[in-house]
């Protein structure tokens, strides 16, 4: 399934909110929790990470990965936490509205 426009940022924030991750780890985590139902362009991940870091929602530091490789780990900042919360609420409201619309039957109009 293709990713909806503009939802990648939210997914990244959610992924790193569970535990700090490196770039590839973010990709794996999203695939894992979506049970491989979402398809993410690998190249589009990094500009999104850099943008989120530039905006101060995630922060990065260098560490060691599972297979003994130097890797850059991203974690959620306090501002990012708030951002994730508002984005989640916004998404839920939006989903409710869309759902309501899509389930509308002719007699309800």
């Amino acid at each position: 399934m293709e990713l909806l426009q503009g939802t990648l940022d939210m997914l990244i924030l959610k992924a790193v909110s569970l535990s700090p991750l490196h770039g590839y780890g973010v990709l794996l985590r999203i695939q894992q929790i979506s049970k491989d139902r979402l398809e993410i362009q690998q190249g589009s991940l990094y500009p999104a990470l850099y943008r989120l870091e530039h905006q101060g929602w995630i922060a990065s530091e260098w560490g060691e990965s599972e297979n003994k490789r130097k890797a850059k780990y991203y974690r959620l900042t306090a501002a990012g936490k708030r951002k994730l919360q508002t984005e989640t609420e916004k998404w839920n409201r939006m989903a409710d509205v869309i759902e309501g619309i899509l389930h509308t039957r002719p007699e309800e109009v």
Partner: protein
């Protein structure tokens, strides 16, 4: 997203570019490697896994570029590139750089200079903490035309007792102190203050302490606080001065403190402060209308000026008794407050605001010109930009580069402007009339620096945005197809620039011609015959202490012996004395009566300027005798009371008869005095125009009557010594003559009469200098504007010139073509400038003397100068046009 995190991100991008690049690289590569490993683990052969990982990731360079964009590294990069490129460009064209930086420096420097003045005068008066909280209490009687005068002790007491409104308050009265320091006694200017004076200004001594309440009691011990200047001059900046006792006015005074260099209030010339010690009786209601003091106060924190002023209006309506009430209401009396800075510098506010507007305008023109210059440069670069845009440089990045290039110019301009403003301020202060410049310093403080930086940023944005916008709008397709011709600004834009330049030229001509007219007027004024001969005349002031010279007899014998010695001093031709002399800025006038001609009741009666003079006054100043005789040594106490009048008075009150032998009374003493001589009228306060007097300005044909000094009180006055040689040689003679009669008496205000007259022209000279300065600025800016415009158009027309030359046009023809374009603008500018200049000068007619407002020489000279400058400004780009190689020009097409 916070501003802070962005800023951090930007600075990181700026400072650690190479590290970020390498980190980005290794991060992306490790991603691909990790993915490949996972694929291998899933059973893919290693080679195939690496290939697939690379393909699925996509173009690593594109991802990197997107990452850079995401972190705004590109913008920073563009700025840096712009800076580097700008530096190269500026180095490559030093002529352009010099012109642009100089133009910008003039604009920024002029603004900084004016702001420094505003800063020092209004925003941060020297030595005063939180000046906005300091107010001056004033009184007024609207019914009798007194709108703004000092206050009485009871007025002040009301303020001092309103502690909810005022945190502190103090009172001041001027006092002079005679002090013998070296060879000659000196006259120190003192301020008698109530003890809280320094608290009101928030001023602390740099040495010792200030007064206590107990020291401000009547007949308390004598304490003084020295000003920094006095401490330096008379006590050699010695810390041991504290605790010393010195003799002032023959009484011992104890030095307790020294104030900082920048604190000199109430006057810039204050030498020392002493306690006022006002007895409590002075504060009684009887003295409500006896105004004699300067009162200052500091507002309580949180109280605004208008609140305090409203409170004063209420206080003014609360009368302590019926007498006060009736007089106050009849004369419309009231108390009010003025901001301290407004009180001290009030009359300077308007001219400085006008000046501020003028320099802001100058900066705007400077920016417009630089924008023009940059446009001319950018026009030649449109192809380069088109290529870059076609290769994918974002608009943002191109704008960043343009800004980078321009900020370099801005930084250079700010630095040069700061330098220029410091030099200019120095000159300006020296050119200013003396009373305006005394004691003023213009510190280059944080406020001034901040202001200059802000002006620089605004300037860069103003002049930089035009070329940046122009550069970012380049359409790669059109630009490359038409080989750079598509970016010729629209016809309307070109026209607008041409009008702007014509306007600048017109303004330049107005200022140039105005300067010429004012210079001529100044020269004519300086040549005016004042009615006496000032050359070789030295003058000095002195004041006889009342204690020692208690009777007129003692005063007369002092003046007699001083003048006698002076007259016989070597090199001195003549000597005299008078209560007032010409060109000291003071004047005095009084009504008088003519015997046998009583004035009808209800009319003001005869009026004239009055002087008390010694016999030598007329001869030493070279005032001509028209009829009768001068005063002699025999016109003394006990002999017949006499008077001398000038021809103006004679004409006014005895038009058809001989005034000699007539008697007048008034102005000084109460006896009838016989007129014994008529002398020529002399100029007294100004060389031309209305004379000034204590009440305001007065007609220059007002008559004068003189009484003998030796038949009147003579407690203070001026000595006049006419020498055979230069005036300076008389200085020692005057000092020695006074010292040999009274060694403790200080002589002050020693000045040659020629210098006094020159000083009276100070304001005119200042105005002329200022206008000359603006004329120079305006003409320089106009030249730069014209140069920018012509050189832009030459670049645009390179192809055209190439074709013309290929068809047989000679270089001279091309030169003529370019000069014609500039000449047309100069012509329009000159015509508009001449008309505008004549209108402006006509409005200024009242301050001109001896020259027509449409002085042909000034206007023709200004027009010629303008034409010359325009020619030079056009010739430089025109030479470039002449050198166009038709082959090259056409091949570029």
């Amino acid at each position: 997203m916070t501003f802070w995190s962005r800023l951090q991100s930007w600075t990181r991008a700026l400072l650690r570019r190479s590290r970020i690049e390498s980190e980005m690289n290794s991060e992306l590569r490790s991603h691909i490697a990790a993915y490949a490993e996972d694929l291998v683990r899933g059973g893919t052969p290693e080679k195939e896994a690496i290939r697939r990982a690379g393909i699925e990731f996509g173009s690593i360079e594109r991802v990197k570029e997107e990452c850079r964009e995401a972190r705004s590294i590109n913008f920073v990069e563009g700025l840096l590139q712009g800076l580097r490129f700008g530096l190269r460009m500026l180095r490559k064209s030093p002529g352009f750089t010099a012109v642009a930086v100089l133009t910008l420096a003039l604009g920024i420097g002029a603004n900084t200079a004016i702001f420094s003045i505003v800063n020092a005068l209004f925003l941060h008066p020297a030595g005063v903490a939180h000046p906005e909280q300091v107010v001056v209490e004033r009184a007024r009687y609207l019914k009798i035309g007194l709108n703004n005068i000092e206050v009485s002790a009871p007025d002040f007491a009301q303020v001092r007792n309103s502690t909810k409104i005022f945190a502190s308050a103090a009172l001041e009265q001027k006092g002079d102190f005679n002090y013998t320091a070296g060879d000659y006694p000196v006259d120190l200017e003192g301020a008698l203050v109530s003890w809280e004076w320094f608290d009101v200004f928030g001023a602390k001594p740099i040495l010792g302490r200030v007064f206590t309440a107990a020291e401000d009691e009547p007949n308390a011990n004598h304490e003084i606080v020295l000003s920094y200047g006095a401490w330096e001059r008379w006590f050699g900046s010695s810390p041991n001065a504290i605790g010393r006792t010195i003799q002032l006015n023959g009484q011992p005074y104890h030095i307790i403190g020294v104030m900082a260099r920048d604190f000199h209030w109430p006057r810039p010339t204050t030498d020392l402060w002493a306690p006022l010690g006002l007895p409590s009786a002075k504060y009684s209601v009887q003295n409500t209308f006896n105004e004699a003091y300067l009162a200052v106060a500091r507002l309580q924190p949180g109280i605004t000026f208008s609140e305090a002023n409203a409170y004063m209006a209420l206080l003014s309506k609360q009368y302590p008794n019926a007498r006060v009430k009736s007089f106050a209401e009849a004369s419309e009396w009231g108390m009010f407050l003025m901001p301290f800075a407004g009180y001290v510098f009030g009359d300077l506010r308007t001219p400085i605001l006008i000046l501020g507007g003028a320099v802001a305008f100058v900066l705007l023109i400077a920016c417009a010109n630089i924008a023009g210059l940059l446009l001319a440069k950018a026009a030649g670069r449109s192809k380069e930009l088109a290529v870059r845009a076609a290769l994918g440089a974002s608009r943002k990045r191109i704008v960043a580069q343009a800004l980078g290039e321009n900020s370099l110019l801005g930084i250079l301009g700010v630095l040069a402007g700061l330098l220029l403003s410091q030099l200019g301020l120095h000159e300006l202060v020296f050119a200013a009339p003396k009373d305006l410049a005394t004691g003023l310093t213009f510190p280059l403080d944080g406020f001034v620096l901040t202001f200059t930086a802000l002006v620089g940023i605004v300037a860069v944005l103003v002049f930089g945005s035009v070329p940046a916008w122009h550069m970012s709008r380049v359409n790669p397709y059109d630009a490359m197809r038409e080989a750079g011709r598509s970016s010729t600004g629209s016809r309307a834009r070109q026209n607008f620039r041409a009008w702007l330049v014509a306007g600048e030229l017109a303004l330049g001509l107005v200022f140039l011609a105005g300067t010429g007219v004012l210079l001529k007027s100044l020269a004519c004024t300086a040549n005016v015959n004042p009615g006496f001969n000032p050359h070789g005349v030295m003058t000095a002031a002195l004041s006889l202490p009342k204690r020692q010279y208690s009777t007129p007899d003692k005063q007369h014998s002092f003046f007699r012996s001083v003048l006698d010695r002076l007259k016989h001093a070597p090199g001195i031709k003549d000597a005299g004395a008078g209560d007032l002399i010409p060109f000291v800025g003071a004047n005095s006038s009084a009504s008088f009566e003519i015997q046998g001609k009583p004035s009808p009741p209800g009319t003001p009666g005869p009026h004239g300027d009055v002087r008390l003079v010694s016999p030598g006054y007329f001869t030493a100043l070279g005032i001509p005798l028209l009829k009768g005789r001068f005063f002699t040594e025999d016109d003394r106490k006990g002999s017949q009371f006499v008077a001398v009048i000038d021809d103006n008075l004679a004409r006014q009150y005895w038009p058809n008869e001989n005034p000699i032998g007539q008697k007048i009374r008034g102005g000084a003493g109460n006896d009838w005095c016989t007129i014994v001589g008529i002398v020529g009228h002399i100029r007294f306060t100004t060389l031309v125009g209305e004379e000034t007097s204590s009440v305001g300005s007065q007609s220059s044909t007002k008559g004068v009557y003189y009484y003998p000094m030796y038949q009147n009180v003579a407690s203070a006055g001026f000595l006049i010594a006419k020498s055979h040689g230069g005036a300076a040689s008389a200085e020692t003679a005057i000092r020695q003559a006074v010292r040999s009669v009274d060694p403790n008496l200080p002589v002050s205000d020693m000045m040659a009469m020629d210098a006094r007259i020159a000083e009276s022209l100070g304001p005119q000279r200042f105005a002329t200098n200022l206008l000359a300065l603006f004329a120079g600025l305006a003409i320089l800016l106009a030249a730069v504007g014209l140069y920018g415009l012509i050189s832009y158009s030459v670049t645009q027309r390179t192809n055209e010139f190439g074709i013309r030359m290929a068809l047989g046009a000679r270089p001279q023809d091309v030169l003529r073509l370019v000069l014609q374009q500039g000449g047309r603008l100069a012509m329009i500018g000159a015509c508009v400038g001449i008309v505008a200049g004549i209108i402006l000068m006509r409005a200024m007619q009242s301050v001109l003397y001896g020259v027509s407002y449409a002085d042909p020489l000034s206007f023709i000279g200004a027009a010629a100068l303008l034409a010359l400058i325009a020619l030079v400004a056009c010739y430089m780009p025109a030479r470039r046009a002449m050198r166009v190689d038709p082959i090259v020009a056409l091949r570029y097409e």
